[in-house]
């Protein structure tokens, strides 16, 4: 008998929760393929190590961008391999709940469920990431009070107001922490004339990136390829420079939070002042982001205890109480 699964199919990482067991897999959403034969060479962490460092015949790709499937066939193969790794075979076909961005289109929804069914799921249902995040972050969403959750992922940022087990207002933008990395890459290329890879950009973000000035600020040495000479070159980046580089992305995320707040019913708005908003997702770990949102909205922002696992934890809870909570699936609500 297959154990049912919850999957957080994120642009950056894929997490799998198995009913009765907890989180059994947590890997980057990357797959490495032999371009000539089409064979899968690696998935997850192993494939992530290959990004930007492969010979011409190998390609290491993220099959999801902005929370949506960009390559259906590769995504299906990645899901199939992930399911195999957690023990799913053609004889054990589990029910699967997949967390997806709330803003995905009907076509994208179908692509995700079809990919999961073809990969071995007996039944595949979708749940919105902010709803799953609110369940996983242990917010009191069963009560008639306003709970606000901000989920900043790799490719999307979503803000939702939840009360009595349902989404009251929602705002989503297809901007996330990968856009922060891309902004750093573009800045270094434009201002310093050197090319850096996406992994280096991510390392810069983690090392000195911030959305608001912080107390301990250090400079970082960055190594890349000089665009003029083609030779390796080192430059020094300051935190102010990185803040300037990522300002457009941060402003876009903060603006979406403000829009969601402005759409919330007044009765629930007053709850936010007391209870605050909860930040989840890897992007929420950017230094100074909570302070920046708090400064611009004048609403307290709190970090979830489990920012990276909140979404899959919420979906896992739905799998544990499948019959009672199946009304929460996308498409199940009127």
């Amino acid at each position: 008998m297959a154990r049912d699964l919850a999957i957080d199919l994120g642009t950056a990482n894929t997490l799998v929760y198995m009913k009765g067991r907890g989180i059994v897999l947590n890997e980057p959403s990357v797959i490495a393929l032999n371009r000539q034969t089409g064979e899968v060479l690696a998935t997850g962490r192993e494939a992530w190590q290959m990004i930007g460092r492969t010979p011409g015949y190998i390609v290491a790709v993220r099959p999801l961008r902005g929370g949506a499937i960009t390559d259906f066939e590769i995504t299906e193969r990645m899901i199939r391999l992930l399911l195999q790794r957690v023990g799913v075979s053609r004889f054990t076909r589990p029910k699967v709940v997949i967390c997806v961005p709330s803003a995905i289109t009907e076509v994208e929804r179908r692509a995700v469920t079809d990919a999961a069914r073809r990969a071995g799921a007996a039944d595949a249902n979708l749940i919105e990431q902010p709803m799953a995040a609110a369940i996983g972050a242990d917010l009191p969403i069963d009560e008639p009070v306003g709970n606000m959750v901000i989920d900043i992922g790799g490719g999307t940022s979503e803000t939702a107001v939840i009360s009595l087990g349902g989404i009251v207002s929602l705002e989503a933008v297809r901007v996330g922490s990968f856009d922060i990395d891309a902004a750093i890459q573009n800045h270094v290329r434009r201002e310093h004339g050197i090319a850096i890879g996406e992994r280096t950009a991510e390392e810069i973000k983690v090392a000195i990136g911030s959305a608001d000035p912080t107390q301990d600020e250090n400079q970082a040495e960055v190594r890349g390829r000089d665009l003029m000479t083609g030779l390796p070159k080192t430059v020094v980046l300051t935190p102010e420079e990185v803040r300037f580089a990522i300002e457009d992305v941060i402003s876009s995320i903060v603006a979406s939070v403000v829009r969601c707040l402005s759409k919330a019913p007044p009765e629930l708005s007053q709850d936010f002042l007391v209870r605050g908003m909860y930040l989840v997702g890897g992007g929420g770990l950017l230094r100074g982001l909570a302070e920046r949102i708090e400064r611009e909205t004048e609403v307290p922002v709190r970090m979830s205890n489990v920012p990276l696992e909140a979404v899959v934890l919420g979906a896992g809870h739905v799998i544990e109480h499948y019959e009672a909570l199946k009304g929460m699936f996308m498409g199940a609500r009127p």
Partner: protein, 66 residues
């Protein structure tokens, strides 16, 4: 012979239709109540504790930042 087959099919269809009609409909109030109960902190505690315990046992510090 054909008559018996037709009668048999009619009976089967009639039984299925009656079964569908008399099947108790899900009460929306009850369904909503069950959903809210399943979302309560008490109901969520085992799921959250299970993951927390597993993380502590493995000494895992969580996934990579994205």
């Amino acid at each position: 012979m054909l008559v018996y087959i037709v009668i048999g099919v009619v009976i089967v269809v009639a039984v299925v239709v009656v079964a569908m009609l008399v099947r108790p409909k899900q009460d929306p109030v009850d369904s909503f109540r069950r959903q809210i109960d399943a979302l309560s902190p008490e109901a969520r505690k085992p799921t959250i504790d299970q993951v927390r315990d597993a993380a502590e046992d493995s000494g895992d510090n969580g996934p990579d930042e994205s």
